[in-house]
Symmetry: D2
Subunit: 265 residues, 4 copies
Amino acid sequence: MRLGLDEKNAMTTKAIAIISSDAPDAARAYEALRKRYKTVPPEEADIIIAVGGDGFMLQTLIAHMDHHKPIYGMNQGTVGFLMNDYREDKLLERLEEAELTTLHPLRMRALSADGKIVDGIAINEVSLLRETLQMAKIRISIDGKVRLPELFCDGVLVATPAGSTAYNLSAHGPIVPLHADLLALTPISAFRPRRWRGALLASDAKVRFDIVEHQKRPVSVAAGPTEVRNVVQVDVQQDNSVDLLLLFDPSHDLAERVLMEQFTP
Amino acid sequence: MRLGLDEKNAMTTKAIAIISSDAPDAARAYEALRKRYKTVPPEEADIIIAVGGDGFMLQTLIAHMDHHKPIYGMNQGTVGFLMNDYREDKLLERLEEAELTTLHPLRMRALSADGKIVDGIAINEVSLLRETLQMAKIRISIDGKVRLPELFCDGVLVATPAGSTAYNLSAHGPIVPLHADLLALTPISAFRPRRWRGALLASDAKVRFDIVEHQKRPVSVAAGPTEVRNVVQVDVQQDNSVDLLLLFDPSHDLAERVLMEQFTP
Amino acid sequence: MRLGLDEKNAMTTKAIAIISSDAPDAARAYEALRKRYKTVPPEEADIIIAVGGDGFMLQTLIAHMDHHKPIYGMNQGTVGFLMNDYREDKLLERLEEAELTTLHPLRMRALSADGKIVDGIAINEVSLLRETLQMAKIRISIDGKVRLPELFCDGVLVATPAGSTAYNLSAHGPIVPLHADLLALTPISAFRPRRWRGALLASDAKVRFDIVEHQKRPVSVAAGPTEVRNVVQVDVQQDNSVDLLLLFDPSHDLAERVLMEQFTP
Amino acid sequence: MRLGLDEKNAMTTKAIAIISSDAPDAARAYEALRKRYKTVPPEEADIIIAVGGDGFMLQTLIAHMDHHKPIYGMNQGTVGFLMNDYREDKLLERLEEAELTTLHPLRMRALSADGKIVDGIAINEVSLLRETLQMAKIRISIDGKVRLPELFCDGVLVATPAGSTAYNLSAHGPIVPLHADLLALTPISAFRPRRWRGALLASDAKVRFDIVEHQKRPVSVAAGPTEVRNVVQVDVQQDNSVDLLLLFDPSHDLAERVLMEQFTP
């Protein structure tokens, strides 16, 4: 691992914490690892080992966002794009070899129709969707400038490069290389402008969504586990001041996998 | 008009009813037409004149579905794909010249999680959409055969040719010529199968959607004005026994306009 | 096989011819089948057995187009969408059980810049492509009516339902069910109209392509094995008077496979 | 203009050259400007004024690539994405106010089947296309690593951000913001991998195309005005050591226009 905190005999000195999701496989793996390796509580650890799937990793990254501790995921879930392979042996050696990838989260601030302000954080995307059979009407502004006065649609999302292979791809958005300083703005079923395909934005773009006729056409927003119903306005921006540190086996490099994903039919 | 009921001196003998939407423009047009032309109640009419936009026309078609009476729309709405141009004069002459287009509606039967069965009818499409931030998981069967055991998505829709230029187009489905005996089955943000683009089905296809894990992943369905929340199973089929009769000025032929729509960038 | 020519003891009375492509595997299979089954020359046969891949089947269908004889393909090629599985035994029983699918070919008539008229025939598609780095400019008329005065593009194609899963799909055209009376008109890299997606046309549509500025912007056309360079005008139309008869094992129904292809990610 | 070469009384001291395309409108404009402004030959100029369309601008940029002189385009052509509006008056004032945008060209090196090596340069894209009715088979390597062993297609292209709104968009590639350090790799009618959509690559990616079975399946390459027929191998890479300097009126900023292009339906 190429962290500043590295030391000569890192294997013996680095403190690890192990956490896992509630899924039976993950819980079993957790027990097996705990028997085998000496651990400390997360707050005392140099590295956190997260056992589960992508969903658990996203939770863990956000839960430990302020601690600036690298997270090493091991896959015991159904989707493991952010995870290393699970193996019980040689964990310390793998940590030594692991490479660091830094992601930045999206911050979402939603104003709901009842006047509440809710903050959320997401690693993949922030997405808006209509709540009833009334089509959504959304105004999109970038850096304070209205770019689309009215998008008629099912919804719209802002995705990070890491998230570009997930929901964004389903909504026909482009896959974005991990190190590109870009965000994907992608509509969900754009009705008007007819066949609008979305845009790639600078990674420091401030995106604002205003919900037009929000009483007649209610829209919800989702940022990670946070959902806000009946929103009036949503601001989304990448927070480049927060570094989310992920550790990957050299054979499992995330940038490489996002790249490979582009060559998958 | 080339109906069997045609007669020599049709202009004098054909009884017309005029109805309109509540929109101010439509109401004004209604008054102007009523002053100028002799009308009868809809149930006594040979032809119904509907003044408003597409939304009102869809309502009118469904309201008068069982009467087998041709409807001639005049546009006083924001979207008028199904409407003729509005003009006050020469209405009877235009009706004489008008050509008949026959559409068939979609019938929807939804079973909701609380055990209720709701029937709906739609002219453009029947569409399903997730209700919360949980992605929908939908099993799709065609004519009793499971074709996709699990579609992970925002939703999915079945559109008629007339509806293929509407919501279906927004969801990246193909425009289908009016006289093609086809239905478009189009996913909304297909997550898995990755980038699935949907299918064109025979017009007599029986489409069934089963909502997998419907408690965790609630889905609503919309058919015309009917919305059912938290559905478990939805059946959709075109009802070829019902003929919806629309009258269009020769210059305003619907099949031609669906065709033209395909040559619009 | 459910042909009018069926007889009681068909297995003993039906005369078969076997032909194969030049590929080594196909040639080997041909020898094995010839040893095992009594054959006649194609002109005396009731059924022609074609051993090879899709390319050979397309050739065979065209070569025997006027004989109105059903062709039963057995796959010994790299692509075998139109072929049954290869097995040496029980061939006569399989022929008894086989079901008939009828396709209609496209006829192409090209006028080249040097004044020659070349006729071609195709089962999948007729396609035009620019010949040099000059973008093509093509006028498209349907049934005598100009629908696009100038399509700026790499090219454009017309595909049958059977061909809709081939080149047409690559060019982002929709898959069309086998029994739909439609042709797909699909552009290749439409530059203007920007992002034009093509159209679905009635199966009896007469499509005409005029090459604008053909001297500066040469375009070639391909219909099956026929290629014409530097064309000025190309007419394409399905020939519904020609029935191409294909035999498929019940488990290998072509309509079913075109349908299944739509549910393949 | 914010160049290092700026001086206090720039309006009087900056030497301009004016050049134009052969098109009648451009030639007329050239004469009018020459009457009005004092000019020098391009080699003595501080700024070159190019009058014509995008095609002429691309030529001019390449012709003067090594001189490191800013080019200010004025539109008298059919496509003027890279051009400022044409106006005769206040040219010197406009030059004072103009803002500089730097582009980097793509370098192409092609090896043809007869053993020749041809170098080319392009500002928008380098594109490969099949020459005959035989589908192209192309191996794609990025930075020395094979990413697609065999792409069956009509062709493939590499586009810069500036070029992403041109041919790349027609081939269904994404629009890339001007300041993103990315190249778009976009297939033309990808047949296999089925529906492959291409990839976004780091701007320093070395892209190599090997033509598989080049004798049976000839492919040509185009880089700007350079076309090479029957190529065997093509290398493409952005040359970040060459700065192409374009001047735009503040109201006509290129980055803004690429961004706006993304919000155009």
